[in-house]
Symmetry: C3
């Protein structure tokens, strides 16, 4: 089940990466490359941080083909994609939650401590988007927008708490997905966001 959501999620993330590449007028190669990195970059950074070799996608070439194909396909269908706006937001939110739970489990299996498990979940959830934005030369949106990384954090905490109390894994999944989707979509709907820190450049430390 989580695998199917994962496959849908990396496809959706790949398409969001392709659109970002299109905004920078990249060529076909750039589109495929950014699609791949947006979809699989978060898990890659997690694996490299945790020393979890071999890196997941190197053992599943299908993920590589899927994300690059989704990216290239986006070039053809981009003009119609605004009609699918709402569906995309839901898929993206489901991806964020799936990535977070998968990332937590990878770190749990390696025996890391709770704080690191949470960070592994969040890294999987948000780092693909951060790499996409770095490669497209813009300040990562995940650090500036509506609740997004915070949803990943909240889901990780809920998932680990229920796990700690030995709640059945399926029920835990359903709870985590319902909760995560609810707060993410509410955040989009009502523009919930975290307090912003604006600091005007001064002379020092500049």
């Amino acid at each position: 089940m989580l695998l199917y959501i994962y496959l849908i999620a990396i496809t959706a993330e790949a398409m969001s990466g392709a659109l970002a590449a299109g905004r920078r007028n990249m060529d076909m190669f750039g589109v495929g490359f950014i699609a791949f990195i947006t979809a699989l970059g978060g898990g890659t950074v997690r694996d490299m941080l945790l020393g979890n070799y071999p890196v997941t996608w190197t053992q599943h070439p299908m993920y590589i083909h899927l994300t690059i194909s989704a990216g290239l396909l986006t070039m053809l269908v981009a003009r119609y994609m605004h009609r699918l706006h709402s569906i995309f937001l839901v898929l993206d939110a489901m991806g964020l939650i799936a990535f977070t739970i998968i990332g937590c489990n990878v770190a749990l299996n390696l025996g890391y401590t709770t704080t690191v498990v949470i960070m592994a979940g969040m890294t999987t959830g948000i780092f693909g988007g951060i790499l996409r934005d770095i490669l497209c030369n813009r300040t990562p949106m995940v650090l500036r927008k509506e609740l997004y990384a915070s949803v990943s954090l909240a889901v990780a905490i809920l998932y680990l708490t229920l796990r700690h109390f030995e709640v059945n894994e399926d029920i835990n999944m359903i709870a985590s997905f319902s909760f995560g989707l609810a707060i993410r979509l509410a955040a989009i709907r009502w523009h919930w966001s975290l307090p912003v820190f604006s600091y005007a450049p001064g002379r020092w430390n500049d």
Copy 2:
């Protein structure tokens, strides 16, 4: 033979990195640093992705000294370098091909699957330039320009195909270099490029 081409290639890449640093008015340290990363960053990312420790250049301090020296030397000779424009394009193309073949071999020796072997070759070929552009705060050119990454892809496929049919390694090298150089130089000469994907920012997913 491949080693000599490799040494010439990292020198040429280091010099291209130094020029990029000069465009950003970096100091001597920045120039050496960008030169090093441009020349050896692709192989570093490949080794970190594949879990190929120790990272190659840590076992060959000579590569470090060579690339940093080449970068610093570039500060002195930059004004004369436009005269060597054509030579540089050839050296850069040879470097791209050499990096690609070396990267493929590293992944082959570690037993990775074909798709990953190709990606290891391309990572070695193009990631130094990507890191250079990120550090110089510009959108990576390799994702937007004339056939470049595609040459790396084509060379990787040709090399692995000939290898699959057990063609003699020397002949394979000669074929891969001839083919790669030919399409890269033709791409520069006649401005061959991949289709570009231009996507105007809309409201959604922005």
Copy 3:
């Protein structure tokens, strides 16, 4: 002793990261994230380059909590921080030196060669700031400003030289800190900097 300096240093670096995030109007999450990466990113990159798993901070959750808290606290006290300008410059310089020495020791313990040991020290010293600047979408300052990376280089060389001659470790520390602080603060006071390489973009290799 070095541990205490290290804790003060990562706190100071986290605060500098938070201010940089504030200049980009990031939200609370972004501030904590950039603070963490600025403080612990250099050591992380070093560990990943050297294959030194598990990465240090994954074994010390306290470092994670400390740096993120320092970042968030900075949001509250930022307006008063310009008064502490001088103290900060000293803390930042001490951090640079502590990071450098710690980085050298990690590589020494792993048996790397001298050139790599020096690069490990410098990576620990400066890469947190480089990641901060990449994430804030600006050209890394460490590559353009007053002696900073060079201080890290000089300290690494002094420390390793004294170590080579089997100078007592405590005396070596005192000498390295005194020397490093002296040249860093002198560089700030009298605007010492390395020669800058300015290269006007031409047609070729662009």
